[in-house]
Symmetry: none
Subunit: 293 residues, 2 copies
DNA sequence: CCCGGGAGG
DNA sequence: CCCTCCCGG
């Protein structure tokens, strides 16, 4: 099929991310930016389908374009691969990169340096994964608020159900056990089917919420994997699933993180007649509000 | 491969069943038989793999040989097909035949006339079977004891799990709801995996027992489908499953049916280097004992 | 990374 | 009538 080399001029990639100012990056840092002035926290979560080697250059360019457009405070990526990571690191110099592995495909947390202060990170193993999956955790500070940021790519496929749910239980355990002064945000590709959460796990733990549900289950941001629109995988049947999810565990006291909006991104086809990924990305905004206490 | 016609002389088939006395069947009826004098109830259950068209003549001959050797009071067959049924009916004139269908493959109950008095029978539909399966039920009298005899071939394959368990629930319901003065015996190819009963159904209902378990789970009669020995299907992996099971629901009062033994049959290869079936048959003996009340 | 069916082990 | 892999839909 139409495989493409990643090795091409980085000019169009830089331009995709930095826009016309890419020859003078200081211009960007000087120009006033809405998001660096406000107290909204923006989080992007996206499985960028690094395992698909078709149209890689165009897809990375499209990805950089959206990363540059939204410049989320926290970016949670799944299915990063080394060459793509290298490109992003070279170009997104305003972000700090954390990665869950060095090889294969893996997750990454990107922290916008001017907004998010990195404190520490760790990698939690899933002892029985057959797909090399794990949980990447970062403790950060955002405008003085302590945050615990997590991402993962839970075991794939319907047949991975049992393992996936074990992984999810582990994620929830770590969310619950994070320092209680931290707001905890998990975002990633859970590969969950609704019935798995409802019937196998009897719903979410008391302290953890699904951000999409908190926002009233908006239909337009429900399905993050949707073959009725996305034909990257050439699947003739229309199948729509909410694989990608954001979970929130509030801090015990202090300012409370409240989800404000969730939109899907990556919905537009590239010129090469391909989508950036077979998943849509999630773009989420949160605000801090005073605790009721 | 080595398909064989069923249409051959019935001479060797008759001889297989009746032995050297087949030219004078009255001889058989005259000679004293242990089983017709005692109060043991013998039950055979066997999926005879009618869907396999290889070596049919030799396999039916081998089957008749064992049917003639044991002359069980009740024979429960699965995967009967019309030509095989016709052969058995022609030869086993000492049995009454009940069949669950006229076409395709189906189950049958064979009642040894001199020992078992037929009263009535019925066929229970499985409304959502995709394989034409059903439950065949016969009410009979054995030495004055009322019995309800059932057989079925539950939905096959791992992928049939959901449907299979629904069918099993239906079987158990009918067993529980049989007249309480009847002892109820189900025997057949359940296609069950142990975990389905334990984890999906939380074990057997209170009133119903698995005869193999009642006998102390003898290892030598555990696996009725065993590719480590049986190569009819040419499966290179060794897989052993307890597909074929006997369930017992005791009568509420009166003489109680107690399982005495369970052995597997059909373990010997035919001269054609093939087994009678890909399943072993089950041969079970029961005794009646006075109720404790 | 959906689903089902078919081939090979 | 096991399982896994692969392919097509």
């Amino acid at each position: 099929s139409k495989s493409t080399q990643t090795k091409q001029s980085s000019f169009p990639l830089k331009q995709a991310y930095w826009g016309n100012s890419f020859t003078d990056q200081s211009a960007d840092q000087q120009k006033p930016q809405l998001s660096s002035r406000n107290s909204y926290l923006t989080v992007m979560a996206w499985n960028i389908d690094g395992l698909d080697s078709d149209n890689v250059f165009d897809r990375v360019k499209g990805l950089l374009s959206l990363l540059g457009k939204y410049r989320a405070d926290v970016v949670l990526l799944q299915e990063l691969i080394p060459p793509t990571l290298k490109v992003l690191q070279n170009i997104m110099t305003d972000y700090q990169f954390l990665q869950a592995s060095e090889e294969g495909y893996f997750t990454g947390i990107l922290l916008r340096k001017e907004r998010v202060q990195f404190l520490q990170s760790s990698i939690v193993k899933y002892p029985t994964t057959e797909m090399g999956r794990n949980l990447l955790v970062a403790n950060v500070s955002f405008l003085g608020h302590p945050l615990c940021i997590m991402t993962s790519h839970l075991e794939s496929c319907k047949t991975g159900s049992q393992e996936r749910l074990n992984q999810l239980r582990r994620v929830w355990k770590w969310m619950k056990e994070a320092p209680e002064d931290h707001s905890v945000i998990f975002g990633g590709d859970t590969n969950l089917r609704d019935w798995e959460v409802v019937k196998k796990l009897n719903g979410l733990p008391d302290s953890i919420s699904d951000v999409w549900e908190m926002l009233g289950k908006p239909e337009e941001s429900r399905y993050t994997w949707d073959t009725s629109i996305n034909d990257n995988n050439e699947i003739p049947n229309s199948i729509r699933l909410r694989f990608d999810r954001i979970f929130l565990r509030p801090a015990a006291e202090g300012a409370q993180l409240r989800p404000e909006s969730m939109t899907l991104i990556g919905l537009e086809k590239l010129k090469c007649d391909y989508f950036i990924s077979d998943h849509w990305g999630i773009l989420c905004t949160f605000t801090f509000e005073a605790s009721e206490e």
